[in-house]
């Protein structure tokens, strides 16, 4: 990398021990990137252990950010700058780098002991391992401790400032203002003035180090173009933040309160944490004793007239399935969010996967159809929350919204929407006639098959609901064979009717017919977007997975080949094959890591090559 580079975009990876404050440093860097007007996408890649033994490869926590002129839709394939806080971080990250990348290492940590812990037989700084890279070896730990000496902190307290020292260096590289980060430190550490001042000082010292090192070392300032983004007001947002706001917005649009009931699980918990701060928006959060209780409490809240929402990840969703059937049978609205993670069983809790599609569409006893949606980007989680709620209330049904571990934590710039332009979310009115209360409660809209939402407390409308089959008209318990057939048909028709309201499937880009179309869903949006742009390939991205948009079959039939890349073993491929008469080409990756753009480009090119 030459000094004073002008580049279109750049991928940076920060890696260190899980106690090094890497995630904090990364997210602050993302905010400063945003404020400087660059587009970006981030990928926090953290270990399953909270504090794994220091210096080990499995304790490495990393934060990758891709920034530049945009559009940036993925955290980037290969880091061009690596900041490695210790040998283990270097060991884990080096294989991801292309030759010529800039590697900043924290010299102080390259002791014999740490090298051994990382599994290095010899010192990579000296044995040629780093020959193909540009290396800046800085004594970050030591310099930082010198900087904060005056505050009289213990060695470990002082050491905790080093992420801000390194952040100062990074901010210098990109010519960024220190102001916003400094403000943030002051707010965050308002109650411990010494740590506050020490961190601010470390930040400035790191920045100054950049200036001086420029003269001596390989460190160079990088000039990034401003992103060309649609005019408007932007913020940085993660999927968990967007979904939390989206759920609150759904409550506001429906003019109902929201009761969010959940049990902690990675990577679903950030949503619970976010919502716990939104009480003033009419959102209640209930941390239940388990996932069964959480969906049940959400159902109870829906029965009581609030918007019941529950969230978990695959293993917890499995526990909720019986109760989903109850919500289907009782015709109650409910939003179920699944932050997918690697499985089976406990699997890879902190790694991403999209392997719960079968579970969402098919995973219940009996004929129990439920609409399924998915969010493609962090920002899109906002709109999908109100879309899911809209369907739930309109059709009086549980709705599953699929997100994943990547989206939960990944930040991107997001154009702040004006919710006063959103349509209100409406519910079916209680019939105004002489029918019995029982019948009124089960009066359904002929187009949506959604029933009236009659809730306890409404005067004179006492009725009984439950999981036993009920008469299609009177709403009383019924074991009549023909009635069960009709009720089963009704439940199918109800989910099918959702397709009348979701619009037609659009093409993201590319021609609407041809030799190849790539079909994606969920968080693979980013890499597929880039790969199809690079290769001029048509791209279709699904947000509605059950029911599928009505025109999808016809649309796909206009292409010779349909490529379906997924972070699972071929679940959308199966679904498309079963629902539409297409025979997709599956492309599956289950490493717990998002797709790289180049993997997709290679696949697209090989398919194209094979067909020409």
């Amino acid at each position: 990398m030459n000094k004073n580079n002008d580049v279109e975009s750049i991928v940076i990876r920060l890696a260190g021990d899980s106690g090094d404050g890497i995630q904090l440093m990364g997210s602050q860097f993302a905010v400063s990137t945003a404020l400087a007007g660059a587009d970006f996408a981030t990928f926090p890649d953290y270990p399953a252990e909270i504090r794994a033994p220091i210096g080990t490869t499995f304790g490495v926590s990393a934060y990758q950010i891709n920034l530049g002129g945009g559009p940036i839709t993925t955290p980037g394939d290969a880091p061009e700058v690596l900041v490695a806080f210790n040998p283990a971080a270097l060991k884990v990250s080096l294989p991801m780098l292309d030759k010529g990348a800039l590697v900043v290492i924290n010299n102080d940590t390259f002791t014999d002991r740490n090298l051994a812990k990382a599994g290095y037989d010899s010192d990579p700084r000296e044995d040629g391992t780093l020959n193909d890279y540009q290396v800046v070896a800085a004594d970050i730990s030591h310099l930082n401790l010198e900087t904060v000496k005056e505050f009289g902190l213990s060695k470990s307290e002082g050491g905790r400032c080093k992420n801000f020292y390194a952040l100062g260096m990074l901010l210098w590289m990109f010519g960024r203002e220190l102001g916003p980060v400094e403000e943030w430190i002051k707010r965050r550490l308002a109650r411990s003035p010494i740590m506050r001042d020490a961190n601010v000082k470390a930040l400035h010292a790191g920045h100054a180090f950049g200036e001086t090192a420029e003269l001596s070392a390989n460190l160079a300032q990088i000039n990034l173009p401003m992103a060309e983004m649609e005019p408007g007001e932007y913020r940085s947002i993660t999927g968990a933040e967007a979904l939390a706001l989206g759920i609150a917005a759904a409550g506001e649009l429906a003019d109902r309160q929201v009761m969010f009931c959940s049990y902690p699980i990675t990577p679903a918990s950030p949503l619970l944490h976010r919502l716990a701060h939104l009480a003033e928006l009419g959102v209640g959060t209930f941390q239940a004793e388990d996932e069964i209780a959480s969906i049940c409490a959400a159902i109870g809240a829906s029965y009581g007239g609030m918007i019941g929402v529950t969230s978990s990840s695959g293993p917890g969703i499995a526990l909720k399935t019986e109760a989903m059937g109850l919500a289907v049978s009782a015709e109650l609205p409910l939003v179920i969010v699944n932050w997918q993670r690697g499985g089976p069983s406990t699997g890879l809790p902190t790694k991403t996967e999209q392997s719960d599609l079968y579970q969402a569409v098919y995973g219940r006893n009996a004929d129990t159809p439920i609409p399924v949606l998915s969010a493609s980007t962090s920002g899109e989680c906002f709109d999908m929350a109100s879309e899911a709620t809209r369907i739930a209330l309109r059709h009086m049904t549980p709705v599953i919204l699929l997100a994943d571990g990547y989206l939960s934590n990944a930040a991107e710039p997001w154009r702040i929407p004006d919710i006063s332009h959103y349509d209100p979310i409406i519910t079916n009115p209680v019939p105004d006639n002489d029918d019995s209360a029982q019948r009124k409660a089960f009066t359904r809209d002929p187009k949506t098959h959604g029933r009236a939402w009659v809730t306890p407390g409404m005067p004179g409308l006492m009725h009984r609901i439950g999981g036993l089959e009920k008469d299609i008209e009177s709403g009383h318990i019924s074991y009549d064979p023909a009635n069960h057939q009709r009720m089963t048909d009704l439940r199918t028709a109800k989910v099918d009717a959702v397709a009348d309201f979701i619009g037609e499937q659009a093409i993201e880009h590319g021609p609407d017919s041809g030799d190849l179309v790539v079909v994606g869903w969920g968080s693979t949006y980013g890499p597929i977007y880039q790969a199809t742009r690079k290769t001029d390939t048509s791209f279709i991205h699904l947000r509605h997975l059950n029911p599928l948009p009505r025109n999808l079959g016809k649309l796909l039939a206009r292409f010779d080949k349909v490529l379906v890349p997924e972070m699972n073993d071929g679940q959308l491929t199966t679904l498309l094959r079963a629902s539409l008469s297409v025979e997709p080409v599956p492309f599956n990756k289950v490493t717990g890591q998002p797709f790289l753009i180049r993997e997709l480009v290679d696949k697209i090119e090989s398919l194209r090559g094979a067909s020409s």
Partner: protein, 328 residues
């Protein structure tokens, strides 16, 4: 409401489907009567149940009703109570529903002190699934799944409740109208979770398991009806009493005429005595055994929502996050 409602007003048009002679009928009558006597508003009352014979209950009460899934009624009722804190929420559950599959939810409802009136119909058997032994069945219970007699040690719902931090525990006998009426009134008036264990005769699969203390002709000698502030007397002419034996650290029966000053006075707030009363074999302790009011879960929950969960602000006020920027 203008006219005072009667028990009949709390009946539905649904045909009651319990076996003839089942104890559930008597309980239903007592509950309907108590609701009427307490001036309950049917529109503002909901019965939530799990699965089992007992759990059919909501179909027969003319209030709001939700027949849910096995064991989960306390969790669903908790969500309902949070959504509608002013609603009168009752839970009807069986011994299997509450103590096996739903034990976890029962524990957490009790410890949270959610404002639910929980009626536990204990027949010491799984009725609906045709008579297998349940977690309250005594050792040696012969059933289709335990032909040689069950070997599991039974759980005591009362001890379970005390261990979970319950604030109200009472007991009644299905056919004892007077006792049931008293217990239901007290449970209804309690703020927080009130758990009432009702000894319920399953005439088909576990007939007369409780006969040793429920038979009317001998009831005076086998039942101890507790009243707060009154001595623990029972038997013909209240000839017997309960006292505390300081040598064995346990309760014992004494002759009330000779040892009157040793007879304990019932103090509902005493958790230690409550636990001993729960374990008393004969007589069996009935009525309100333990009551120790505390702030209810919904009150604490809403205490953390200054606006009582009313929407005080718009998403617009939050959506910008800590920092935002403008692209021109």
């Amino acid at each position: 409401m203008t006219d005072k409602l009667t028990a009949k007003d709390f009946a539905t048009s649904q045909e009651v489907r319990w076996c003839p002679g089942c104890g559930d009928y008597a309980i239903l009558k007592s509950v309907q009567k108590a609701l009427a006597e307490n001036g309950a508003d049917p529109s503002n009352t909901a019965f939530v149940s799990g699965i089992g014979c007992a759990a059919r209950f909501p179909y027969y009460v003319n209030t709001y009703g939700f027949h849910t899934i096995h064991g989960r009624a306390p969790a669903i009722a908790t969500g309902l109570k949070l959504a509608k804190p002013d609603l009168d929420v009752w839970v009807v559950t069986g011994d299997g529903d509450s103590m096996s599959i739903g034990g976890n939810h029962m524990m957490h409802a009790l410890r949270r002190n959610v404002g639910l009136k929980i009626l536990l119909f204990n027949n010491e058997i799984y009725g609906l699934t045709k008579g297998q032994f349940s977690p309250t069945s005594r050792i040696g219970t012969k059933s289709p799944s335990s032909p040689k007699g069950s070997v599991d040690t039974p759980v005591s719902p009362g001890q379970f409740a005390m261990g979970c931090g319950a604030r109200f525990f009472a007991r009644g006998v299905d056919t004892d109208k007077v006792g049931m009426s008293d217990v239901l009134h007290q449970a209804h008036a309690f703020i927080g979770t009130s758990l009432v264990e009702i000894f319920q005769n399953c005439i088909v699969y576990n007939e007369d398991v409780f006969a040793n203390f429920t038979e009317r002709r001998n009831a005076a000698n086998t039942q101890l009806h507790l009243k707060h502030g009154e001595p623990m007397l029972f038997g013909e002419d209240n000839g017997s009493g309960i006292s505390f034996n300081q040598d064995t650290w346990s309760l014992e029966v004494v002759d009330a005429s000779t040892s009157a000053d040793e007879v304990l006075v019932h103090d509902e707030g005493n958790a230690i005595v409550a636990r001993m009363l729960i374990d008393l074999h004969l007589p069996v302790a009935l009525g309100v055994i333990y009551r120790q009011p505390a702030v209810s879960y919904e009150d604490s929950f809403y205490g953390h929502h200054p606006s009582r969960m009313e929407r005080k602000k718009s998403v617009r006020d939050f959506i910008k996050g800590p920092s935002s920027w403008t692209v021109k």
